[in-house]
Symmetry: C2
Subunit: 555 residues, 2 copies
């Protein structure tokens, strides 16, 4: 392990490059390690049964003693969600703004880890010393309050880690991104910028959160029955706008959905939401109020199966029902992969006679991520020597690199490392200096990393054509004394397929008696004979290939 030389810094992405989610960046200087963010990623369809995906942190575990702390940019799951798993391995101090740590605390509490974690909150505009690293927290706008870019001062110069951001010229809380601080860093000289690539495909500027307020206001003014608003539970500014409209139009607010209730209470406790006394009511009291005196603020904007709005759309919520003439605002965009589920929810709501206001029709949502002109502005403000597009699939990173070239960053100073690549930077040069273990760790239930490619391959096979077990009992001499019995699940509907299974049984019997004739008693051979006799037969009859599991019992 070579000590970093004075005048250089090494960065290693462990997540968030070449993918959306599980953001994590490692910064090394003076032989010390600082980690930025520790996010989760929600599993794609091919990760059957997997609950969460987190970064592989083997490298950090191997270098435990050198890890001095974790700094957080904001409180979204893809930036803080892996901390309960990471902190189990690395018990280091965690730094973030008040709301970010508030949301993290809830998470740690549910893992029984709150007591043993050192959390230190930092105000935007302030800085903190993490061992030899000075880290400045710089306010940016995003779809969650208290989001920050970070300036990390290293022996080679400052890194600006912009993380997720946009420039909202009319933010809800009046707190604009700190363009002056970014400009100041830019004039003094930034070594490297790391910037959000999520919306690089979009031209122009991202609309202000205030625009959504207009649609929310209209939905209040036009509704004379129950009003439902579904949104991301972490979008505190959106929630504030709903509260403001509720006050204006004389409706009480009831919250529904666990994460909505939790986040609103955390934000209230920490002073991030302004609510007059008596505005919030309990969900069970909704029915005692006139229909036009209440608004329900809830989860389910992504069509999640168990979320409040989804259950109400299905008619499956024990307290609230959606009725003819009610208005529902789905104040969110469908994340890729959720489009069908969201569509299904909207269909069901229309079918119940509700008036549904959703993204395809009107301005009910704005993105929290910078569009092309804002990305250029960030580059021009900070004028970095080196540029790393981060937070995006490869096409986003590639397009962001092209965009950076257009504002004057030389191609050779732009890096798109793979996860695990070590990039060493000095004021003179930047180069790949090696690579470390990296990748993904799958979380399924309590298991961390015990679901691998073999298990996933089996789940995929099982999901497509089911499983068929063949059980045979043989005696010590290798003679069949019971079976073969065939049991299948997820293959064909048995009651209608008795003939098929009977014939399959005869195929196995033939295979077994052939083995007997040739004195074959080795189990592995018997099993492979059973498997091949069935595989061909079933495929020719059904064009399906279920997983075939021969089981031999000896008595």
């Amino acid at each position: 392990m070579s000590k970093n030389r004075i005048g250089e810094v090494t960065v290693i992405p462990l997540g968030g490059l070449g993918e959306i989610g599980k953001n994590m960046m490692v910064v090394e200087a003076n032989d010390e390690i600082l980690v930025i963010d520790a996010g989760v990623k929600f599993p794609e369809d091919e990760l059957y049964g997997v609950d969460l995906v987190i970064p592989d942190i083997s490298y950090l575990i191997r270098n435990k003693d050198r890890v001095k702390g974790i700094v957080l940019t904001h409180g979204h799951e893809d930036h803080i969600g892996a901390l309960p798993y990471v902190l189990k391995e690395l018990n280091v101090p965690v730094y973030g703004t008040k709301l970010t740590l508030g949301l993290l605390s809830g998470k740690l509490k549910s893992h029984n880890m709150l007591g043993n974690t050192y959390l230190r909150h930092v105000y935007p505009g302030h800085s903190v010393k993490v061992s030899s690293f000075k880290v400045e927290f710089i306010r940016v706008n995003h779809s969650i309050a208290d989001s920050c870019a970070l300036a990390i001062h290293t022996p080679a110069g400052p890194l600006v880690y912009a993380s997720d951001f946009k420039f909202d010229q009319t933010p809800i809380d009046g707190k604009m991104a700190d363009i002056h601080k970014l400009a100041d860093l830019g004039s003094k000289g930034v070594l490297a910028l790391f910037s959000d690539s999520t919306n690089v495909e979009r031209e122009g500027f991202t609309m202000s959160e205030k625009e959504v307020g207009k649609t929310i206001d209209e939905s209040f003014s036009e509704s004379d029955k129950k009003l439902f608003i579904a949104s991301f539970a972490s979008n505190i500014h959106r929630i504030q706008q709903v509260f403001d409209a509720a006050v204006k139009y004389g409706r009480k607010v009831a919250l529904s959905g666990r994460s909505m209730v939790n986040n609103v209470h955390i934000a209230l406790d920490l002073g991030y939401l302004q609510v007059p006394e008596g505005l919030l009511i309990d969900l069970k009291d909704v029915s005692s109020l006139p229909e036009d005196k209440v608004v329900l603020l809830m989860t389910g904007s992504q069509g999640e199966r168990m979320a409040a709005l989804t259950r109400m759309a299905r008619g499956d919520h024990h307290q609230i029902s959606v009725e003819n003439g009610d208005t529902i605002v789905v104040s969110a965009t469908a994340i890729p992969g959720n489009a069908r589920a969201v569509g299904r929810t909207i269909n069901q709501l229309f079918k119940r006679g509700a008036n549904v206001i959703y993204e395809a029709l009107s301005g009910v949502h704005v993105s929290g991520h910078a569009s092309q002109e804002e990305l250029k502005l960030m580059l021009n403000l900070t004028k970095p020597k080196y540029f790393f597009p981060v937070h995006g699939e490869y096409r986003h990173l590639h397009l962001h690199a092209k965009l950076a070239q257009r504002v004057g960053i030389p191609k050779e100073n732009i890096f798109i490392p793979d996860l695990g690549d070590k990039i060493t930077l000095t004021p003179e040069k930047g180069y790949q200096s090696g690579s470390v273990e990296s990748g993904r760790v799958l979380i399924d239930g309590l298991g961390v990393g015990d679901v691998g490619s073999v298990v996933l391959r089996d789940r995929k096979l099982l999901s497509e054509n089911g499983v068929l077990m063949v059980v045979v009992t043989i005696n010590k001499k290798g003679k069949v004394i019971a079976g073969p019995d065939i049991i299948s699940r997820g293959f064909v509907y048995i009651r209608e397929s008795g003939d098929l299974i009977n014939e399959a049984t005869r195929q196995v019997e033939c295979a077994l008696s052939e083995c007997e004739e040739h004195n074959i008693t080795e189990w592995s051979v018997l099993k492979s004979k059973i498997r091949s006799s069935l595989d061909d037969f079933l495929y020719s009859r059904t064009r399906r290939r279920p997983m075939i599991l021969p089981i031999i019992m000896e008595v």
Copy 2:
């Protein structure tokens, strides 16, 4: 079965309402049945392992003798794809335009059904008599050539079945939708209009296919290496535009992907594509030409796993490789559910150094479906007494109904039936007159309808947490003489979970000895004891619930 009275007609949707795909509409008059379209739907994710979904046609089978024919509006899979299955049950004449029947013939050939099917082609602008129904074929524009709306003359008046359409004012082949015929029908009096709801969420007019030509032209003019264009294989006009640009820029065209090759040859044979001698070359001859003298036209615009472009992106195509500086045009939009697969393909292509032109960035695709202004135009041209929004999920149908009200159709004259609902229309009134069996039939391999909810539920369970089998051999007295043996697949990675399985085995042994103590020998009880002992144990240890299958063998 009551004979339809003179002066009335009954319509029954069997597919395409409340869903995208498997379009099929039944028209009954004079005791005779006419069927419009017979499409498939591609299975959603929750239909594990299912290949295709077709309409339930039990009603038509029960009334076989009254079914006089099937008329087709155009050659897309969601309008003709179910015919091989439907014609096996109902061998009736099929009517359509030349290209539609050309595409259908290829399909029937691969099912060995071409010889026994009566196919009759009808030119747009002409009409055909199907028993007592006079059916006029009226040209419309769509993303496949030779698309028609149908005017079906019934004792109660004409129905206009607009099917999928748009009004392209500058179509590639110069053949505009027959607005004069639609206007003429409108002035004489249309009983009911059935119109495409796919794009009802979009304002304005859908762009002309000619707009895509500009982007295609640019991609040719700016490319100096290999050029790849991926598109829907059925979009003959798009393909013609590629051919035209290839001629202009002096490139040869090579086709890749089975459906692209098939469709181009069918369209060429039938005169729907104009190609100068020698323009088309074989894929294997591509390497013998200079890179800037060839364009590859291919499938894979949806990121389909085995399609040409997808394999090239993976570096997994035996003839063609994508290299640094090549240009790839993905001339399509990602159908919901395919967005991630398309994104993955684009990422891989960028990573190979290619310049990828895709939808998020530029005008590489226009829709084949009418936007709001065109939908209003169709309503105003035909001035129907009754209106049926068709082809859409419920939200689309609902919004289309609202739109029709805005152009003057009274609410009570607009119908959004469920599948199977019979709606009877006379010039005086329209009402629901009953309902028939309807729904979906799942095709998996050779099986038609043998995968039902039980099989799907099992596949879902298996996909999430795998399967765990417990095998025990007992003797006639109920004493365990071999096992319990536990085998699992898709649950945990066994090598790392030996302890878990050992402990699970002990759990089963305990359960079995408890049964023995209490003289429990009934198999169903034994099995349920095994299952419950394991279920709780495994959940507490892993938070997963694999499918548990106890198997008892008696010797």
